[in-house]
Amino acid sequence: MPVLNAKALTVERSGQQVLKDVSFSMQQGQVHALLGGNGAGKSTTLLTFLGFLTPVSGSAHVQGRAVSENVSAARQAIAYLPEAATLYGHLNAYENLRYFLSLAKTDTDRRALDAALDRVALQAEAREMRMQTYSKGMRQKVAIAMAILRETPILLLDEPTAGLDPAAIDDFNRLVRDLAEAGRTVLLVTHDVYGACHVADRIHLLHKGELVGSFDRPSGMDRIDTEAVHAAFAAHAA
């Protein structure tokens, strides 16, 4: 049974079709990347799986159940990291994590928080500081830590590497692979062709709401063919 399944999704926002007949499915432990330019429908796809948007036709399924049937169940199965997530600036990293984890009714102790923050390589001395003093990359690391701590079977990550330095992006990609190997299913949205090719098992290329191509990682290879994805991406961008 697919963990995430988009069946001929068509979504409208303000009377405009922003997703047109998009279909794909993900099995447990897979990493998929949605690639595309601005307005391609990448974030819309994530919001539809979360039940914030209702398709005008087709359906989104989480763990075999239509999202429209039980939005709460879908959200409980998903850890979501929005694009440019701004956590609360007046709280420190621990307080932010505790707040959101409590909201999700997830119990964690200080050691678990530190372990997650270690995994995203957030400096120990910064953790007690208010997040309004953080750089964009540091804020993103805390948000990623939160998604990890949720311990949900599915992660939807919208531009998770935005603001991260190259070393941190490498760390993040490794982290995503580790999570997938641990059985978690990750759907990420990105503009970063190179990063997507390295981390994803499959890339879906979206253009103006339509799925215009999919690229699989060949068996035995450690990445998807970057040249092919680049060519397709450039062809649609032109």
Binding site: F52, R75, L81, A85, T86, H90, S102, L103
Partner: protein
């Protein structure tokens, strides 16, 4: 961690919310303090007046040998004692907390001599708890609630919060409840403390708390209604402040203007002037012009109204009364007009919750227009009792005695 505890901790870290709540405590505390001080000052003056009134009686006792002099030179203190909740809603107390010149002379001028002073106060209003809870509290609530969701949208957290929350709707409702509850407590705790200090009845405090809670509840509902449109924080704030301005300032002003137009009322000063002119004119009129209308009202003294050419007290008191009789229709129109205006304003106040809340608190405090009119009526009743006491002694030309003076009516103190 429960949702309430989580949001309470979150609120405790929100400096802006804490600032508004701190201002609420400050405003409520200051308004209660000023109210207590005002009522204490009124009580002090009242106690001094009662002492002076008693001392004056003692001085006058035995000084005058005829009832005309006694009635003329004896001033009677009447007063409207503040209730144990008056500190919270001073209302009409600045109009006439006491009248200490009541004599058995013409009444209307004595009652309305302060009416020329009142409009100054009426225009600006009092900074009391009723003002703080009815006018300022909605503003603070708006500041606490206007960006509850919109700032999360602006910060890109709205979907994150919605997707993370284990139950639908969370955490908005709990956040709102805590802010509304905290503001209500910030307003009510100073009130309760002051109530305990001065021994306010629990029922009055409970009723006032209910009024405040309902008023806050109305504005909460309004904030929630505006929030549904999904506007940005500045637009929400503009809409809510606009609504506050309309409901707290514009609508009450329109109500006042409409009520004044719909129910014309003569001026209090006009009543006083008309009566005084009638009394002054009486000096130049034939005495029969006074005694005849007096006897019409008091046929029981028909056999005692023969007066000569020289000054006689019974003629003097008769023309004082006739002065009242001449202005009676005007005075009645003034009183009835004020009652009608008050009733109409009470009905229309449902269109302006801040005005409604103010009126409700004043009613609990016994400082409403109805209470003011009730006090005026008690003064009238007392004045009638004074005339009822003096007239038999004047017209029968009785001898002044301590025993008779001891029977002089006292203004009844009414507990509130």
């Amino acid at each position: 961690m429960t949702g309430s505890f989580r949001e309470l901790r979150f609120l405790a870290k929100d400096r802006a919310a804490l600032l508004w709540l701190g201002i609420a405590v400050l405003v409520a505390g200051l308004s209660v303090f000023l109210g207590l001080r005002e009522v204490a000052a009124q009580r002090t003056v009242l106690n001094e007046l009662i002492e002076v009134d008693r001392a004056e009686r003692d001085v006058l006792r035995g000084l005058h040998q005829d009832w005309g002099d006694v009635a003329y030179y004896t001033f009677h203190l009447t007063h409207d004692s503040p209730s144990d909740f008056a500190f919270a809603a001073l209302g009409q107390r600045d109009t006439s907390p006491w009248k200490h010149h009541i004599r058995a002379l013409a009444l209307e001028g004595q009652i309305y001599e302060t009416d020329a002073e009142n409009p100054d106060f009426a225009l600006i209003g009092r900074f009391d708890f009723a003002f703080a809870a009815s006018m300022l509290a909605p503003l603070l609530l708006i500041l606490l609630l206007h960006d509850l969701r919109s700032r999360e949208r602006a910060a890109g957290r709205y979907e994150l919060l919605g997707a993370t929350a284990a139950s639908r709707g969370s955490p908005w409702f709990v956040r709102a409840v805590l802010r509304v509850g905290a503001l209500t407590l910030c307003l009510l705790v100073p009130l309760w403390a002051a109530g305990l200090l001065v021994g306010t009845g629990a029922a009055k405090l409970a009723l006032a708390s209910l009024v405040v809670a309902l008023h806050i509840g109305f504005w909460w509902g309004f904030c929630a209604f505006v929030d549904r449109f999904g506007w940005s924080s500045p637009v929400n704030l503009t809409a809510l402040i606009g609504a506050w301005l309309a409901l707290a300032v514009v609508v009450p002003a329109a109500i006042e203007s409409s009520v004044e137009t719909a129910v014309p009322v003569p001026e209090g000063g006009e009543v006083m002037l008309t009566q005084r002119e009638a009394v002054n004119d009486a000096w130049d009129l034939p005495k029969s012009a006074t005694m005849e209308p007096f006897v019409e009202r008091h046929p029981e003294w028909a056999d005692y109204t023969q007066v000569g050419q020289s000054f006689e007290w019974k003629w003097y008191y008769a023309f004082q009364q006739v002065g009242d009789q001449i202005v009676e229709p005007l005075s009645r129109a003034y009183r009835e007009g004020r009652i009608r205006r008050d009733r109409l304003a009470g009905t229309l106040a449902w269109l302006a919750p801040p005005a409604l809340s103010t009126r409700a608190l004043q009613a609990i405090a016994g400082t409403s227009m109805a209470d003011s009119l009730a006090y005026e009526q008690r003064v009238r009743d007392f004045h009638a009792a004074l005339r009822g006491y003096y007239y038999p002694r004047l017209f029968r030309d009785e001898v002044v005695s301590d025993a008779s003076l001891g029977q002089r009516p006292e203004f009844p103190v009414v507990g509130k």
